[in-house]
Symmetry: C2
Subunit: 390 residues, 2 copies
């Protein structure tokens, strides 16, 4: 049995209110005992239980937090969109095709090229503290390329989401309903073996309410659990459909009616906020306070993708959430850990109570508050996943 003592933790966030203080289950002058990749014990340093010979790591009085759970990422793609970004941010027109540029590059990429891209971004995310990450398809948009995307994603993460309904690809521009039939037919057949989740971009210009409902319902019948891109660019039926179909999460949710907020607050669907997308498109941020004050469960994710949010960095998203979405540092950290776990319906990650996976992050800081207090500074000193240091 492998056993590891993380000792001399100045400030430990457990997210377990029965283990520590407040919403973060905070302990000062604390220790963690890890056995076989799981948290065996968390508590005050003075009370560390006697145990077998253990490896000891001295945290040097610094802060330890649960690994981030990033529940929304688009990592299987080729190419980047530097020129499009630069043109947008320089106020110049840009006539290239947005998502379609990435679709074209992804279709012509080899498996190894796509695999290297996913590995690079998952590794980058891990180094910045993300120990669980979801990954969507959505840049293949053919039966073969969607299935391939999911298969490659599944090599790197257990949280794989079928997003054939990202946009209507150019070859179906004249008959979008035929594409919807493909997404819920042959493409679904090919993708089910590789995915846990099904997602639809429910938005004007992408898929409408009826199309969204049809696709998610077909996925549910095959055992996939829905999640929905809803209300990113404008109001729409996405949140209502998400809650009605028991989706794990409605994501973006920047444009919400009062009924949407009420549905999120009273249903089992997490509201996942993606401030990186608003940052990189100069769009207004979602109103996190409205959701939190109504009682909704909020998650925070990075939405890594090459078009509208090319970041894997959750500390950056936490700083934005505090600055621009009026979340407190406590709420933002909880949303990026427990919130993400809830959005992925995982009870084994996002917290450090005994029995949880030993996924945790040592910060070069005395407190988790520094993630927002020291914006942009790389504070992640070391990351453990399943008890193994990165």
């Amino acid at each position: 049995m492998s056993s590891l003592l993380i000792d001399n933790i100045g400030s430990l966030v457990t997210n377990a209110p029965d283990v520590g203080q407040g919403a973060l289950g905070l302990l000062e002058d604390a220790a963690l005992v890890i056995e076989d990749g799981l948290v065996a014990w968390a508590g005050p340093r003075a009370l560390v239980p006697e145990g077998a010979a253990r490896e000891r790591f001295d945290a040097g009085g610094r802060a330890v937090i649960p690994g981030f759970v990033d529940s929304h990422a688009h990592l299987v793609f080729a190419g980047d969109r530097t020129s499009e970004f630069e043109a947008r941010m320089s106020g110049r027109a840009y006539t290239a095709g947005g998502i379609r540029t990435t679709v074209a590059a992804t279709r012509t990429a080899t498996d190894d090229e796509l695999r290297a891209g996913v590995r690079r971004l998952v590794g980058e995310a891990l180094r910045s503290g993300t120990t669980t990450i979801e990954c969507k398809s959505g840049y293949g948009l053919t039966v073969e390329d969607e299935a391939r995307s999911l298969r490659l994603a599944a090599e790197q993460t257990a949280e794989v989401t079928y997003l054939g309904a990202h946009v209507v690809p150019p070859e179906y521009a004249g008959d979008p309903d035929a594409y919807v039939d493909l997404v819920r037919g042959a493409m679904l057949d090919a993708c089910v073996p590789h995915a846990r989740w099904i997602d639809v971009f429910c938005e004007r210009g992408a898929f409408d309410g009826d199309q969204t409902r049809a696709i998610l319902t077909a996925g549910k019948e095959r055992g996939l659990v829905p999640r929905v891109h809803a209300g990113q660019l404008g109001p729409g039926p996405g949140v209502r459909i998400a809650v009605e179909l028991g989706a794990a999460s409605a994501d973006h949710v920047t444009h919400l009616s009062d009924a949407d907020v009420e549905a999120l607050a009273s249903g089992g669907t997490v509201a996942t906020l993606l401030p990186g997308a608003e940052f990189s498109t100069r769009s207004p941020y979602p109103d996190a306070r409205r959701l939190l004050d109504a009682g909704a469960t909020v998650a925070l994710a990075a939405d890594c993708n090459p078009g509208s949010s090319y970041t894997t960095n959750i500390p950056f998203c936490i700083a934005l959430a505090v600055r621009d979405m009026n979340m407190t540092p406590v709420e933002a950290l909880r949303a990026a850990t427990m919130g993400g776990a809830q959005a992925l319906r995982r009870t084994d990650v996002g917290h450090l109570a005994p029995g949880a996976r030993a996924d945790f992050v040592l910060l070069d800081a005395p407190s988790h508050v520094h993630l927002a207090y020291r914006p942009g500074v790389p504070l992640v000193a070391r990351v453990w996943k399943d008890g193994v240091p990165g």
Copy 2:
């Protein structure tokens, strides 16, 4: 003679329009030759001059940019203000004393404690690409503690700024003019040997126009060059005085009259923008476009300090400048390199033309645009200062 070839640079920013294309003096598929800590040659890879036996570094097709020049930092302090930040960002009242909290902690700290703090932040800045950094006093506010702060700062950087006029310390609350007399009298005498610059926080609640003018004039008479904190919290006379006295830079400049903009555009004073301060205080950002369109020279700096901008990270400031101050990626990068050099009246840094100091940064990215396109992601792969890798 030490000689180093940086080869296979995918994209090289020289900031020298006669060396490369556009405002950034951009070269693709380029190389740099370093000799004795200076740039000996920069140009297309195909044209690298024959030379003595050289050490060769392969940049792997990635981007190389000049080191950042951070012309505004407050690094000599003790303690931090985590609780104040958390209270502010959580909408709770906080009655502790702001800057005065840091003054009290700084006065009681030992030289070694302060030295360790400066070294930690200068090192952190260097690792994120900042090869030149200015450092102010301003948390001592006694003759002895201001002189000590400057002496410790001078151990780490050549750009040392006497900021006795940061706030009026509590012991002079009843007689601020007596403090002004001290700042331009005995305190100036003690500080002149350690400093190049003199700065005043010209703002309602700090120092008014007459006080600012008196202090800066006294400093000029002793050979210090003025720089001014102007227009951070509201409109005021700071910019006008800065330009009139030939200050190298007016910093913050968030609140500007048309006459202020005109003065900056036509005078020799750089406008230094500090978006980290607006970020961490939820304040409106300065209008960079208004300054740029008027023809002012703009610098971008991090304003690292424990109260209102506890970041050393210039890539983060570049991303904010692009997102929230409507600067283009080109303008933001130039402001963080050449702009900072101009704000410090340095011609040897901020660019990579032959003769410049060999201060440069390798990015884990194909282009400098990624600094804004990939916000929060630590893209600085390696940093050279005076030709020596960090």
